[in-house]
Each structure stands twice: as C-alpha cells, then as structure tokens.
C-alpha cells in the first residue's frame, strides 16, 4: 500500500446555479412571437401553455430560459432596466434578475419561487413583452 500523500478534494458547489436541470420545454406562439420556453418549474410552463398557443414545431424566433429559484429572496422591488447596445438587464428587487440578449434573441432569468404567482404575470411578463416589442 502506497504511503504517498493524498489530498482531500472538494468540488465547488454550483453557487451560480448555472447547471440547474431544466426539464420543461415548450414552443409558444403569441401574436408576434415564436418562443422556445425552457424552465425548471412545471407550473410556469403549464400557465404559459394555457395563455399562448403551443406550436407544433417549427423554428423558434426567441429562446427564453427562466429558472424558478427557491433560494432567491421573495422581494420584488422597483423595476430597473439597464441597457447596453445589445443587452437589457431587468431587475425587480433581489427576487428577479432577467437579461435580454437582443442580438441573439435570448432571455435568461432567475425568479424567486414566491414571485411566480403574483408578480410574474402582473409585472415581470409585461416588462419583458415591452422589451421584446422594442426588438421587432
């Protein structure tokens, strides 16, 4: 048996939640958009599926990834939009962080689980729709 020293190994936790599994995918079509919607929250996919037409395939014009994040604080403060030439970052307090990549037509967001029932449809989605409307 070898006496060579060994080291204790510790993998970094996924603090950024970069690699959270997102098993729910939908292709949605509203009046103006084909949206490839990806989420870890089945309720969100179901709710969206009820309010938009589910596409039967085809090319999505926009990709939207929303992570329901149980560790984000349920705080929905004032909406702040920070814009560069190709990116819009939306925050609503500490509980909702969303970026819109206008160049690549991609939305990536983290939303506190507690905000999905109220603020999501009342505040966050309208703000997102406004950004998307500006991209046409």
């Amino acid at each position: 048996m070898s006496n060579a020293p060994v080291l204790q190994l510790s993998s970094p936790p996924d603090l950024l939640r970069r690699f959270v599994h997102l098993p729910n995918e939908l292709c949605l079509r509203s009046a103006d958009w084909h949206l490839h919607f990806i989420t870890n929250e089945p309720r969100l996919a179901t709710a969206l599926g009820n309010t938009a037409v589910v596409c039967d395939g085809g090319t999505s014009k926009m990709k939207c990834t929303i992570l329901c994040d149980s560790e984000l604080p349920p705080e929905s403060g004032e909406g702040i939009s920070t814009e560069t030439s190709d990116t819009v970052f939306l925050s609503f307090g500490r509980g909702c962080l969303i970026t819109v990549d206008r160049e690549n037509r991609e939305i990536i967001g983290f939303v506190a689980a507690e905000l999905l029932d109220g603020s999501w449809s009342a505040v966050i989605v309208p703000a997102l729709m406004a950004v998307m409307a500006g991209m046409q």
Partner: protein, 329 residues
C-alpha cells in the same frame, strides 16, 4: 420602471486599468468610480487595446441598503446583486461588466477594491487567459511559494505568519495565474487579509480589531496588510506549491505527486458552460503549468509562527532564496 442607458454618450468618462496583468477600459459618468478604482489605473493611452470593459452608470436616485450579495449565472451571463438595488452583469463572451450603482457605492473604495474587482477577475479570469486558483502566495525576491489546501487548512493564518517571517505577501486566498512564453506568473490583487477570529491569539495587532461578517457570511477579521506591517508584492514566479494539512502529531514536509496537485486544482475550479470549453481548456493548461513546479505536502502542528518558521527555512534551503539584506540594497 427606471431605465438606465450605458451607451457611449451616457458614459463619457474613460479610464484605463491594469488588473492582474490584464488591461481594462472603464466607461462611466462619474469621476468617483475612476477614483475608487485608482489603485489599478494606468496613464491613458488611447491606442492600447483592452482585454475587458467595465461600464458603470452612477445614478443619484439609487439608494443602497444593507443586504447580502447574491450571485447567479447561466450561459454567457453572471449576475451579482449588491446593496439590494445594484446589479452587476458579467458578460463572459464579450468580456465586460456593466452596472448601475448609487453615488454611495461609486465612492466606496473598499467595495471596488475588495469586492467587485476580485469577483470580476474570478468570473472573467478564464476568458482573459487567467486561471483563478484557490491558494495563498508569498514571495522572496520574485520567487514564489503557493500555499494551497482545503478551506480551514490554515492558509491565511500561515501566510500571515510567513509574511511576518520576512516574506512578501502576494495573496492570502486567491491567485490569478497566467502563462506567457512558458513563464508562469501568479498575480495577487492586494485585498485585505481574511483571518478567522481565533487568529487573534497569534497576532497581537488583531486584538484591537473586531471581526465582522464577510461576503460569504463568515465572521472574520478583514485587515490591511499594512496594519500587520506586512510587505505586499503584486506578483511572483511560483517555485513550488505547498499543500497544507493540520496535524496532531509532528510537522513534516514530504513530496507530493504532481497529478494529485493537478487533480486538487482542477477539481476545485468552477465548471464553465460548454460554450466556453476553450477557456476551460486554457485554464486547465495553466493549472498544469503551475503544478509542473515542485509540489509538497506540509502536515503542520503547533502555532502558525512555528509552522511558518519551518516552511520559511525549507523554502530557503531548497530554493536558495533569501531576502536581500538592507545593506546589500
């Protein structure tokens, strides 16, 4: 909805920084931000190409509040929120950081130097050809000694003790390793030392300080090296890596297989999204170059000053380095 534009017209003030050997341009609407980042500023050279960009809009209407920071990331973006209302977006693909901040944060030098820039280099470092490595680092005359080990192994305490043994401190926690033309350089950022509350029994200077909650929620002393009369160096060429482990028995130093050292650093590197495989590969290459140095396993017992004395003597004996005496200078 409050809207902030970060286009060129909104951010007319420019500054250039060099951080861990990487050039950066800062665009802002407030001289306070430039002043707060002054530690890394360089004379303005308009033709100099930058490697990353920092765009910061300061809005007097924003009011910051005390709140723990939070970090999230997906794909090319990493988000960091501070003070409840301030969010920084790190765009890995474009190698830039952008944010809207309060006037109070704009002039908060400690925030920029000890929080934002270290986080930026940790997040963007692999995109810039840097490998962030969890390791303390000390040097004598440019010859570096890296001190690695799991959290709680005593890196910071031993690094502080070594720094009082006539070595200069590059970093007590993280280094940013770069490789060019076969030469490896370990950069530090000159951030305050972070020492656990029990360190007060070993360093008299801490007895008048109060530990406070640090970024990760730990109670710790965060103290400038100057207060401990420690010399600071910006960078060095690592000669060896010493992996620390507390021991109840005798202190001893033994060779460590390079493959074990590589595995340690590769294992502790934060995974990157698949679209940045090239950056992950480059980071791995740098880790291999760093761990091509001699690797040692240091099991140490007793107080940190005793461990530091043993390690300092070992480093001097093996690598024939010693501090130039005052008379020689």
């Amino acid at each position: 909805m409050r809207r902030f534009s970060l286009d060129n017209d909104a951010l007319p003030i420019r500054a250039q920084l060099v951080v861990a050997g990487c050039r950066s341009v800062v665009r802002t609407n407030s001289a306070k931000v430039v002043s707060s980042l002054g530690k890394w500023s360089t004379p303005k050279e308009p033709t100099l190409e930058h490697e990353f960009e920092v765009a910061v809009l300061v809005d007097r209407g924003l009011r910051r509040h005390s709140a723990l920071p939070q970090f999230r990331g997906r794909g090319r973006y990493v988000f960091a929120t501070f003070h409840s209302v301030e969010s920084f977006v790190f765009d890995l693909r474009e190698r830039r950081v952008f944010a809207a901040v309060s006037d109070e944060t704009a002039q908060d030098v400690a925030f920029w130097t000890t929080v934002l820039i270290p986080i930026a280099m940790g997040v963007l470092g692999p995109m810039l050809g840097l490998s962030p490595m969890h390791s303390a680092c000390l040097e004598i005359n440019g010859h570096g000694l890296l001190l690695a080990g799991v959290s709680g192994a005593g890196k910071s305490t031993l690094a502080t003790a070594l720094a009082t043994e006539d070595m200069a401190l590059v970093s007590d926690d993280w280094i940013y390793a770069a490789e060019a033309d076969g030469y490896v350089t370990a950069h530090g950022l000159g951030v305050p030392l972070k020492l656990m509350p029990d360190a007060a029994q070993y360093f008299d200077e801490l007895r008048t300080e109060e530990p406070r909650l640090s970024l990760n929620g730990e109670l710790a002393f965060e103290i400038d090296a100057g207060k401990l009369r420690i010399e600071v160096a910006e960078r060095c060429a690592p000669e060896c890596i010493v992996f620390l482990e507390r021991s109840d028995g005798q202190s001893r130093i033994a060779p460590l297989e390079r493959t074990v050292a590589r595995e340690f650093f590769e294992h502790s590197a934060e995974p990157l999204p698949p679209e940045f495989a090239h950056a992950a590969e480059r980071r791995k290459h740098i880790i291999h170059s760093v761990t091509d140095r001699d690797c040692w396993h240091f099991q140490y017992a007793g107080p940190p000053r005793e461990g530091a004395r043993i390690l300092r003597q070992f480093f001097e004996d093996i690598y024939h380095v010693e501090r130039a005496s005052a008379s020689a200078i």
